[in-house]
Symmetry: C2
Subunit: 454 residues, 2 copies
């Protein structure tokens, strides 16, 4: 339903843009999603893209739209806008969006743009820039509504009407004389309460809060678990510094899911579908070379058994089955545990139990698959010993897969690393080397029983 | 900061629970996250778990807590509660949560519980049950605040104070006499507007809306792109049926991310870290057996070249390198495209361009890795032909990896399937079979030049 209607709006915007009817466009733009506005960029020639971007800035849609564009294009576009225009634009954005836009510029231009701002504006942005982008501090906005606890509901409503008609607040924060956070006041409590009551008696006291260095995924989990619209960020002495809102949290959740999947596949999180080939190659090559190293390690393992293979070539035929199944089973265990860590399922519960479970599952699935491949091999080659070797190698390798699939992400987390980062390399190295070694090793020990024609 | 404090709260709750001081617990429970309440269950003996669950019901935390428990345990617990209690509990829940709780019961008990409800309650739940759980209809609540457009702001505020003090609404929906959705009225607009204005002049007209059969991931994308707190669900004639709120959307986003990762690894989305071993085995075995089939296919490919391997055993040593690298490069391409589809990056842009990009990246990374492994092999074996074969096989297999990594999810989406589901099987089958065939095939063609000692 939506997409059809929106596509028409896109066409209308393009037509108005070519006609120069910018006033119409300003009214139509808010009807589109940032992703759809970004899409329009592909239909506009380069010199006009800057003008379109300026229209977006005017209706405050530039920051979200830039985020939807491929990073390279976003950087290119912003860098073609003059310092003065950017300063002017930034003044109209909320501080957290302003910092995001700044980050697209090279370091020296950032300084220049900051110099064009007033002392207060500059100070706010400088302070926000200090925080790591992946933390509550990097995500928070410093535009929030905070009232002293002694105010009455009627006073608070009057001040809201007077000063905050246009602020985009979700809650009112109640503070004491020295800005310490005392509670959270939803607008509804204010509306429903009698006007004479002090707001400290309407507020929800002792609210959930975070520190500026709280990692963004932890903030996201809090917001999601408590169904909050916004979470306040406080310093060590409980003074309010800013607010992380649910729309930022939804972005974080998408980013975190992307990060987990990307890290498991050995991808850099900066890459997207339309990242230019040259950059994608640069981003992917390091991990592929590490993988080449582990593949060589697996090959060296096979190399130990060249003599056995030369005697029974069938071993070379069957060995990829054992190793490959280990890789797949390992990636199943890995995914369950990585996702369990991301969703907080393993936060309190026994990690030991999770490892033992994966080992047990590996034993069972290994037995079943070992049985199937053992029978199949017997039908093909008629050698019971070969089937037994296949069976035991499959069981052992799938147990190894479960063990490493669970152990690797837990160890990475324990070491303070991202549990997904590079985890699949460790696991497939274990299942490749392990699979080849166990299968070919057993075959070498029992070589005398393996009389199989070429 | 939070977790330390919360853990203490958990300990206090446990102590009060053992002492039977339920009144204290009722006050403490809302301070904990559902995941933390679920964690407490592990410390409570089975007969007492039911009593604890009842406390959770009383403070409306049972539904979210049950969702955090392993499905098996949640089902077990609910099934130990009497029909009468469940009916009573369900009456106090919002309809969408009530339907979730119902779903934990076997079909016949669901009927029985529904029979214990009044006609209106029953009708609401029966209607909600009709919708697929993964759609807007299955996610929506039917508890929302809707006012007629002719009302004044003062009338609306009075009615809110009188009737909706306790409802958990995010927006007020403005409807005409026959319940057609006319607009959305944020509480702030009501508060800031003068009392005499009609609410239709304060509302945001023509709001974003969805149909009951809109897939939940589409709803999530709308909410995330438009930064909405809730999206109304309307029928074909634009009559409001219910509302999907942002807290449900955050659950959807977590589910969708889990689903993508799980489907790529061949996991059933019903599985979690603490799913019992027997059930995990049942859920994983089908996919592992399909994988065994594809592994046999790869083995059969190797088997075609037994004679070449028997002459040059080194081929068996090197062949896993080419196949393994293809698998890794393929999973990189696959992840980028699957994630691009999930984030909507490929919604409007050229799919053909995405495929060509992955092929080009495969060519470049293949050339680089082929060069490295070619040089390494030359240093080890001193045979230029072998190095050339390795180089070309690596390039060809990584091109194949890029092609299938992009093509498979796009074809699955095109066929109306989940682009992640089983995609890695197709890709690794292609890179295994392809890798072995190209490398061993080239070696067989050039066998006369491969004089390599064992």
């Amino acid at each position: 339903m939506q997409s059809k209607k929106l596509k028409q709006t896109q066409r209308i915007i393009l037509r108005f843009f070519l006609m120069g009817s910018y006033e119409h466009i300003r009214r139509l733009i808010p009807k589109l999603r940032p992703a759809e506005l970004a899409e329009l960029m592909a239909y506009i020639r380069r010199p006009d893209q800057i003008r379109f971007l300026q229209l977006l800035f005017e209706v405050r849609m530039a920051a979200p739209t830039l985020r939807e564009l491929p990073t390279e294009l976003a950087k290119d576009l912003i860098n073609d806008v003059s310092d003065e225009t950017i300063s002017e634009i930034i003044r109209r954005l909320s501080p957290d969006d302003a910092v995001d836009i700044l980050a697209y510029l090279p370091e020296d231009r950032q300084e220049h743009v900051l110099n064009g701002l007033s002392g207060q504006e500059r100070w706010t942005l400088e302070r926000l820039r200090l925080y790591d982008q992946d933390t509550a501090g990097g995500r928070m906005t410093t535009e929030y509504v905070a009232f002293r606890q002694g105010m009455t509901a009627a006073e608070a409503l009057a001040e809201l009407r007077e000063k905050h008609q246009k602020s985009n607040f979700h809650y009112i924060y109640v503070v004491d004389e020295t800005n310490h956070l005392m509670g959270i006041l939803p607008l509804r409590n204010l509306v429903f309460g009698s006007g004479a009551i002090e707001i400290k008696d309407l507020m929800v006291p002792d609210p959930v809060k975070v520190h500026p260095d709280t990692p963004q995924e932890e903030v996201a989990r809090l917001v999601s678990d408590f169904d909050m619209l916004a979470v306040p960020v406080v310093d060590e002495e409980n003074r309010i510094l800013g607010v992380v809102t649910f729309d930022d949290i939804m972005d974080v959740m998408e980013e975190e899911a992307t990060e987990d999947m990307y890290h498991m596949a050995g991808l850099d999180t900066a890459e997207r579908v339309f990242t230019p080939v040259s950059r994608s190659v640069r981003l992917r090559v390091p991990w592929l070379i590490i993988n080449l190293g582990t593949a060589v390690l697996a090959a060296l393992t096979v190399s130990l058994f060249r003599e056995s293979i030369s005697k029974v070539v069938t071993l070379a035929v069957l060995m990829p089955i054992v190793a490959g199944m280990g890789g797949n089973a390992g990636s199943q265990s890995l995914t369950v545990v990585v996702r369990g860590l991301a969703l907080g399922e393993l936060e309190f519960a026994s990690r030991w139990k999770a490892i033992m479970k994966e080992v047990a599952v590996g034993f069972c699935t290994g037995s079943l698959n070992g049985l199937i491949i053992g029978i199949l091999a017997y039908l093909l080659y008629g050698n019971l010993w070969l089937s037994l070797i296949l069976f035991f190698a499959m069981v052992a390798n799938l147990v190894l897969a479960g063990l490493f699939g669970a152990l690797v992400p837990l160890m990475l987390r324990w070491a303070g690393k991202d549990p997904a980062l590079g985890s699949s390399i460790f696991v497939t190295t274990a299942t490749d080397v392990g699979g080849f070694f166990i299968f070919l090793g057993l075959a070498t020990l029992l070589m005398n029983y393996l009389h199989i024609p070429l």
